[in-house]
Symmetry: C2
């Protein structure tokens, strides 16, 4: 018998393969299914997230400088630890390298990794390099720490909780669209270089994202512990659905509250894309999406750089987007569909 992986999809496949996993160690507080695993060490908990990045799938070296790639590979794993309300402290980085790459290439990549480590106060503590028959492969594991009573998982959201997201959405996706377009236009033309002026923000969001260390700090300063949190890697739609599924709740997201940068909106118009779709499904924003009890409304809105985008409902109410013209649409992992009235 042969079942094609495409029949299950990525999330379905993971569910299928992990459904038989039993937790046996008393130190394992949380296994698969969150931004990071949680390992108990008494007062403190160790957080572990891991990521595998493959050339041609997760990045394109035609328009990705290796230094940026190293920076991003590290930062996106830091982001997973912040999404648990923890602090990243160590990473390991393993590389598979084909003959196409030189020592200088790897120096560039490592310079990016070490820059990220320096900016975020993280130590690179291990990894290995090996030959690869097929391009560049990156495996990153991040270890973080958190006080045992501060860790935030995806499964604590409650009916009436407020939903906040930091920064803005969709910029990294529009940066990627721009890079892909320019790659095609300039294919084979070594002389000409694309003009990216006025588009720096969306390019930086794609090529050199940052993790929201500042938001975790602000939350602590305001004595706010979110009830659930995730980083926006697949897009707000997918990621709020993870929270709702694991918390067994529904949600209402308001289209007119989605935070969108001017460059994102402008580029979406150029590409004739619906900017709300971009913001909901773009992915790779690495913003923090979290829920806060309604009683903490005033404290939460005092935090700079976060936006109230909706609220949690009961599971029966489903996960919906309220559009600008006040229609209810069902939120989906990719896009949304109109709910029949």
């Amino acid at each position: 018998m042969r079942t094609e992986i495409s029949t299950l999809g990525e999330f379905g496949l993971i569910d299928h393969l992990t459904k038989n996993i039993k937790i046996t160690q008393s130190t394992t507080k949380r296994g698969v299914g969150d931004d990071a695993a949680i390992i108990d060490n008494g007062d403190k908990q160790t957080l572990v997230s891991t990521d595998l990045l493959l050339e041609g799938i997760h990045f394109d070296l035609v328009y990705t400088p290796l230094k940026h790639l190293g920076y991003k590979a590290a930062v996106v794993n830091f982001s997973d630890i912040y999404a648990m309300n923890g602090t990243p402290q160590q990473i390991t980085m393993s590389l598979g390298i084909s003959k196409r790459f030189s020592v200088e290439d790897l120096e560039e990549f490592y310079a990016g990794v070490l820059l990220a480590c320096s900016v975020y106060g993280v130590d690179l503590v291990g990894g290995d390099t090996s030959s690869s028959l097929t391009g560049f492969t990156i495996s990153v594991t991040c270890i973080g720490i958190a006080d045992s009573d501060k860790v935030v998982t995806r499964d604590g959201a409650k009916d009436t909780d407020l939903i906040f997201v930091s920064g803005d959405l969709g910029a990294a996706y529009m940066g990627l669209q721009l890079l892909e377009r320019e790659k095609q236009i300039f294919a084979g033309q070594e002389e000409q270089q694309p003009d990216f002026s006025g588009k720096e923000y969306i390019l930086e969001r794609q090529l050199k994202p940052e993790a929201r260390k500042d938001i975790v700090k602000f939350l602590a300063e305001h004595n706010i512990k979110p009830t659930a949190m995730i980083d926006v890697s697949d897009g707000l739609s997918s990621d709020i659905l993870h929270i709702c599924k694991q918390s067994n709740v529904g949600c209402k997201i308001f289209e007119d509250r989605l935070p969108i940068d001017y460059q994102t909106a402008s580029m979406a118009e150029t590409f004739n894309m619906n900017v709300s779709t971009v913001a909901l499904n773009g992915g790779e924003d690495y913003e923090l999406l979290f829920t806060v009890p309604l009683s903490l409304h005033d404290e939460a809105i005092a935090i700079t750089g976060i936006h109230l985008v909706g609220h949690i409902t009961s599971a029966e109410d489903g996960c919906v987007l309220i559009t600008r013209d006040n229609q209810s649409m069902e939120l989906r992992a990719q896009g949304w569909t109109q709910i029949s009235e």
Copy 2:
């Protein structure tokens, strides 16, 4: 400027890329350069090892059943934690998968991983799966634990310490040679299958290695804390050189004390290979190689399944192999060369 990676070699490349790493976190007790990183949690220390396995480089699916591959991918990481005198407790496993693979293939692979987890008492706590353009990619990270005063690194070996290795050496390498030969002989012949009777041991050593959890237990029961320890993944020569370099000592290994199984010796003869070379450089044995103070000689030799193969000397004396005919040869990462008299 373009420097080919081959000019540095694997170890040279890692040294080159990691020489500028600075440790900044007080919880980082040990970074790159051992079997695992050490993270301080007070009384206990967390150990982290990671591994990236690429199809065509680290394994060949023509003769490696996916269930065995899953088992091995997990076990070789457990071995790194035992080599620190610790206990593996959690692993993460990320996969890159091309369209060539079906859901059933992945079920097989996961069955092997979960079997290893069950045998060794380890929890699978994370990871992800993603598409790959190019075959099967496996990234494994293992988290272990050890009492802070029990962790054994590679840098504690002292002059006159005894050198022990568990089990026997070279079997996994001869198993690989046999599989490679049969692959070529039987290429394209679907009807015929090779006859492996009488060669089960070397095949199992290659396809389904075990980590020496028992040795770590025996050492604790005999109140022996090795001064340095490593698992034999690259071959005894390479691995004792890691200990000697990091401990700033020399060593003397006695050829006639190398533990070699009958099947290994027999297969080496068939292939017209020097069996001592196979034992010294074969790799993938996943035995434990460790040093013990001379004063613990009697306690150490009482342990079942370990073999005294030599002793530590001062750094000036170099790292040498004493052959059966009592000549001194310089030990090298691959092979050895005669020392001029």
